[in-house]
Every structure is written in structure tokens, then in C-alpha cells.
């Protein structure tokens, strides 16, 4: 161990001008932070394993005619949609729960840029997350087709893939928004699972709320994303309204809180 630094620049050197890190760089770092802890890595591994499991179940349980690439792929989207938002939540809340915010915001004092980078990183992850599903569904479909000639249809459209990606991205951003709003891992994860469920149950039970659910229940408004047909203008409007309530609003409130709060 030595007490001399092999730095290239003397601390007394004249001031250099430094450029601030680009959003691409910050987004890359945030993506890496999602995967470089055990919690993050295992969440991804488990999500992939469940995708394998749901495809395997279909091979045994579904009618041969229903054993298609489209069906298998779409079922892989549900474990992804449930578990990846937890990764989104942790990406934000672990900064507070593990107190790494102290380092993060000392490195990048423009807090809205970190929030933006986390948002972008989550969107990228949401897009990448459909890839394992595509692969698993393809393998499943080959097996299904070789076992039964009625199974194994490859019929699929680009629009379905686009909708699948959108579904995945909306869900992970949902997690980011909840994380930003509550800034605490346990609270955000519990509420992320409980609040939308209670909301769905309530709107089912209370007849006066039914029409509200058509607009503001994300699980209802995102259903058309699984149909073969393109979304109508009304369906887009309903999806946008529920995304506004569950993603945009928590994110905006969380961001306002983040910009003002003390980091300690």
C-alpha cells in the first residue's frame, strides 16, 4: 500500500471543463444497476423460468388447436408483467432503502436526469423482456407441432409484437412510478400488488364504478392489446387514461417530491 497517487493530473492543475454525462450513459448505468445485485439478477432469472413454466403447462393442458405460437408468447407476458415492475420499483426505492441516493445524487446533482435515466432504463428493459418469451414460445411451439398436427400454428403479426412490447413497458413503468411515489421498497411493493387489486375488486362489486373501470382499470384497458385487431381510438383513449392515473400521476408526484427532498 502506498500513500502516493498515480493520478495523471496534479490537483492544482488549471480548471478543466468537464461535460456532463449524457442521458445514454446515465441510462446505461441505471440498467446495469438493475442487474448487478442478487435481488435484480434473481428477479430476472425467476421471470424467465416462469415463462418456461407457463409454456410447458400449455403443452400439457391446452387443446392442441390452442397450442400456437401466439398463445404461448402472450401467456409469457403475464409473469413478466407481474414481476418486472418489482425490478422497476427496486431500481428507484433501493436508492433510499440502501441509502445509495447519497452517492447517486452527489455524482449527478440534476435529480430529474437520474429520474429520466431510470425511466428510460426501465423502458429498455421492458422491450428486452419480451425476447425470452419469444424464444421460449418458439421452442414450445416446435414441440407442440411435432406432437400434434393440429397444434403449432405460427400465425403472428407485427402489431401483436408491438402491443406486447407496449404492455411490457407500461407495466415496468408502473413499477417505476410507484417506486418514485413511495421511495421505500417494502411500502411500494406491497401497495403495487394490493392497490390495483382492491381497485379491480371494488369496480367489479360496486355497480356505479363499472364504467370507471372501463377507463381507469389498467387490467381492463390493456386487454385489447392481446387481440388480433388494431386498437380503436376509444380503446387508445381508455388505455391512455389508465396509464395517466397509474403511471404518469405517481411519477409526477414522485418527481416533485424528489426534486425538493433532502438526501441523507
Amino acid at each position: 500500500m502506498t500513500a502516493t497517487l498515480t493520478s495523471t493530473r496534479a490537483p492544482s492543475a488549471p480548471p478543466q471543463t468537464f461535460t456532463r454525462p449524457s442521458m445514454v450513459r446515465l441510462t446505461g448505468v441505471e440498467l446495469r444497476k438493475m442487474a448487478d445485485t442478487r435481488a435484480g439478477l434473481w428477479l430476472m432469472v425467476i421471470t424467465a423460468l416462469i415463462s418456461v413454466a407457463v409454456v410447458a403447462i400449455q403443452l400439457f393442458a391446452a387443446e392442441p388447436s390452442a397450442q400456437t405460437f401466439k398463445n404461448m408468447f402472450q401467456t409469457t407476458l403475464f409473469p413478466t408483467a407481474i414481476l418486472l415492475p418489482v425490478l422497476g420499483i427496486l431500481s428507484v426505492t433501493s436508492e433510499w432503502t440502501q441509502r445509495t441516493a447519497l452517492t447517486t445524487f452527489a455524482l449527478t446533482p440534476q435529480r430529474q436526469r437520474i429520474a429520466g435515466a431510470k425511466f428510460l432504463a426501465a423502458a429498455v428493459l421492458g422491450i428486452l423482456a419480451v425476447l425470452p418469451g419469444l424464444a421460449v414460445a418458439a421452442i414450445g411451439n416446435v414441440i407442440a407441432g411435432s406432437m400434434d398436427s393440429a397444434a403449432g400454428s405460427w400465425s403472428f403479426s407485427g402489431i401483436l409484437l408491438g402491443y406486447a412490447v407496449l404492455f411490457s413497458v407500461i407495466n415496468i413503468l408502473f413499477g417505476i412510478g410507484f417506486g418514485m411515489l413511495f421511495m421505500n421498497s417494502a411500502v411500494a411493493i406491497v401497495l403495487y400488488f394490493v392497490v390495483p387489486t382492491i381497485w379491480s375488486v371494488l369496480t367489479q362489486l360496486v355497480s356505479g364504478l363499472k364504467s370507471t373501470a372501463d377507463w381507469l382499470d389498467l387490467s381492463v384497458t390493456s386487454t385489447p392489446l392481446f387481440d388480433d385487431a388494431a386498437l380503436s381510438g376509444g380503446e387508445w383513449a381508455k388505455l391512455a387514461a389508465s396509464v395517466g392515473l397509474w403511471v404518469v400521476l405517481p411519477t409526477a408526484l414522485g418527481l416533485a417530491r424528489l426534486l425538493k427532498r433532502e438526501v441523507s
Binding site: 497517487l5 490537483p11 492544482s12 440502501q98 441509502r99 447519497l102 425538493k260
Partner: protein
Amino acid sequence: MISVTSLTKRYGAHTAVNDVSFECAPGTVTGFLGPNGAGKSTTMRMITGLTPPTAGASMVAGRPYRQLPNPAREVGVLLDASAQHPGRTGREVLTLSARTQGVGAARVDELLSLVGLAGPAETRRVRGYSLGMRQRLGIAHAFLGDPRVLILDEPANGLDPEGIFWMRGLLRDFADRGGTVLLSSHLLREVEAVADRLVVIGGGRIVANGTKAELLAAGGVRVRALDPVTLRKALERAGLAVTAGADGALTVQAEAEEVGQVAASISAVLLELRPVDTGGLEELFLTLTAGEPKETAR
């Protein structure tokens, strides 16, 4: 270069930092001293833009910290060595930071070996690090961007004596090459050994600010009497500046002879009379902060 102007932080009715001003010049190590809860960490968090001040301002490297485009390249910051994700390895912590700042991966290797964490330790998760190892990782992190200014909150905490000696050399060398260091501590001996200037804070206020030589020379004489109250009155009647220490001893800004004369004139029984010794920063520190309310750390 750090300049702090009238920084104040209030939490409701409680004033954690009250009108604090000081400057740290290039080429110097400034020791920021105070008991726990005196407002050191809050001040440092305000300087680094993490805590919004109620009033006042601060500049680092010529700008408010939050306006630095890539702060870590100009200011190395260590605020809390325990504030690391326990699930990341030491190397990963530095790699993330190096990527954010845009310094090469080679710099990570360089810093890991500088702080003695190269080898098996770098691939262990921070969860398994001792406080001393976390502190070394934090020091590596502060140096990573090759900055000209260092802001370190209690960096000696958890280091063993050898580690403290090592860190002292590291900071001295950095300052001697023209760097600016602000170093907080409640370990008086540590700061006394390395600092050029001292800023002492108690109860959120600056109670002393000057070069180490000035502050130590101002130590005066320490006197303990059977009846300190009467002696204090007599000393004050004689026009001498008296401060009461923590243990009932008085510190008088005068020569021992003067104090002795006053004591003799009122026939006071003295238990102790001596110049404040050169380890006197401790004395000074206790004197200056005695009677200040010890707030709990936030």
C-alpha cells in the same frame, strides 16, 4: 476551493446549522471539528447539494455544487461509508461510478490497489466488508474522478491506527500538490495531525475558525481551584478572559504568573495551574464546545 457563506438549516423550530461561513483554500487541509450532532454532516450535505439550505450559499470549484456539470471530476465526496448497496461488490461500486463520470476502467484498478482492496476483497459484496473496508472503498470513490477538491465526512471512522496514518499521508500529499481538503472529524488527534486550518462547530454555530497554530496558541493557561466560582470572579475582575471547561477547570487567556498573582491575592487554593499543553486542541475543543447543547444527529 470551497467557500461557505452564512449557511443555515432549520428543521421546524430546531436550527441544525446556524449562519456558518468559512473558506478552504487550495493547498490546505481544513479540519471541520465538532461533537456529534454539531451540524458537520448537515453542513457538508448542504455544500454537496444534497440538503437544500434554509439560507446562505456555498461554492465548490467556483460554482454552486449542483451547477457542476460532472461534479465527481472536480470534487471527491465521501459522506457516509455505510451508504452502499450491500449486494454490490467493491469493484462494482467503483465501476458504476467510473461509468457515470466517464473515467476509464483502468482507474478502478488503480484506486482499488491504492486503498488496499485489490485482490479477493474487490469481488466480495460490500455486505461482508468491515467499516474500515467500506471507509477505504469510500476514499477510493472520492479519488476516482481525479478531483481537485475533497469533501470527506468522518473518513477515519472505523480505520485502524495504521489505516488512519495511511489516510493522513494520502490527504497531506493531495493538499501538498495543491488540492483542497475539507475533512470532518470528532477524532481530534487525527485532525490535529493533518490539518492546516481548523473550523470548530458546536450546536450548529462556528465557535472557532483559524489556522491550527493560531488556535493552539490561543490555548492559554489551565487552572483548577478548590473554589472555582470565586477564582473566576477574581480573574474576571482582573480583566482576564476566562472560559469554564467541562471538568470545572478554567481556561484563562493569560500567562501562568498573572493567574497565580490573582489567585494569591484572594488566597485561593489551587489544585492545578499549567499552560494548556500542545495536545491542547482537545482542551480547546472541549472548552469551545462545553455548554453547547448536544443535539442528536439527524
